[in-house]
Symmetry: C3
Subunit: 153 residues, 3 copies
Amino acid sequence: MSIDARLSELGITLPQPAAPVAAYVPAVEANGLLHISGQIALAPDGLMTGRLGEDRDLDYGVAAARICGLNLIAQMKAALGSLDRVERIVKLGAFISSTADFTDQPKVANGASELMVDVFGDAGKHARSAVGVPVLPLGAVVEIDAIVLVRPA
Amino acid sequence: MSIDARLSELGITLPQPAAPVAAYVPAVEANGLLHISGQIALAPDGLMTGRLGEDRDLDYGVAAARICGLNLIAQMKAALGSLDRVERIVKLGAFISSTADFTDQPKVANGASELMVDVFGDAGKHARSAVGVPVLPLGAVVEIDAIVLVRPA
Amino acid sequence: MSIDARLSELGITLPQPAAPVAAYVPAVEANGLLHISGQIALAPDGLMTGRLGEDRDLDYGVAAARICGLNLIAQMKAALGSLDRVERIVKLGAFISSTADFTDQPKVANGASELMVDVFGDAGKHARSAVGVPVLPLGAVVEIDAIVLVRPA
């Protein structure tokens, strides 16, 4: 089954890939690895903002991380032409806007990690780091970047 | 001398490689580079927690970074089968739980960096970034991820 | 035109590549990718320190990010021999010392991103992540690391 068919089966419509908010590009392919810029949680009804441990709860963080994941997949498709060129999700780097006493960054980041496995199966199993940060661009609650192993075009 | 023999010479027993605390895998090999998930300071007697500049001193931070380094090496061995497949430690990414006025992140991260050179010699000399963060998963005091160049199996 | 000629045209003199402040090396080349250690804003008259949203304004942050970029280019030259071996700037990872309510990290990081495009043209267009952190080594206001695709020597 193609990844597009799998997305349909899951009822997922990819968002428009977001334009960078500054002077860089969404993704660069180099030596078989696609490095994707940090994606913030741009949902159809606007950017998901705030801070875990303060004005946002765990469910909101998980939903935001999933949106970051959808934006990462949208960037893969835009960069590669077809999602079937994704050989493996290698690494996600998750930055979670957090107060000093919120320590559930792994549960938040799972919103993106579980999406990758739902969509890509075993090829979606990745290495990951997840850390708390005090603040993110535009007040975003989550930012996630990625490295993807790709098949030649 | 094999790396296992070098570990014995240094009196180092590797910890059990830690299971991920969430929906991801410990390491992914892709195009000759092994990306290892962020390792927190899981010591034999429990997780090393706290914050530099607040309730933990520099020595504690250095010890925690060394434990992160041991966990990274344990993950290399689990992923590669043999540590002799390590050709070069390429990059460490160190995140140090810090108050706003603690600025000795480089000294803390040296706990892992010096371990890599002790164990792998010249092949252990790596690029690095080290930054302060307000909080880490489960309250960990240090988290470190890694990229390793590997020889074919 | 060589990159050195382009630097002259832009009136840019590269700084001396900074020695690491701890037990690591400035850059490691592996499988065609050069990973460069996080560079802080070491200007000719000293380290640019402080925190955005507190004691530093946006212009200062942008200038510091540009200095980080110059230091990254100086490290490329030191590691590669010639800047003409730079095939593509793949990724910048920008860490901006920020209060909890400063959200213009993308504008700050542009100080480095725009420099890369000025110097390398299309080859300077990179993926990027930019996040806020509470504090950086030695009190630096910005730290940026990089991944560069390189041509064989």
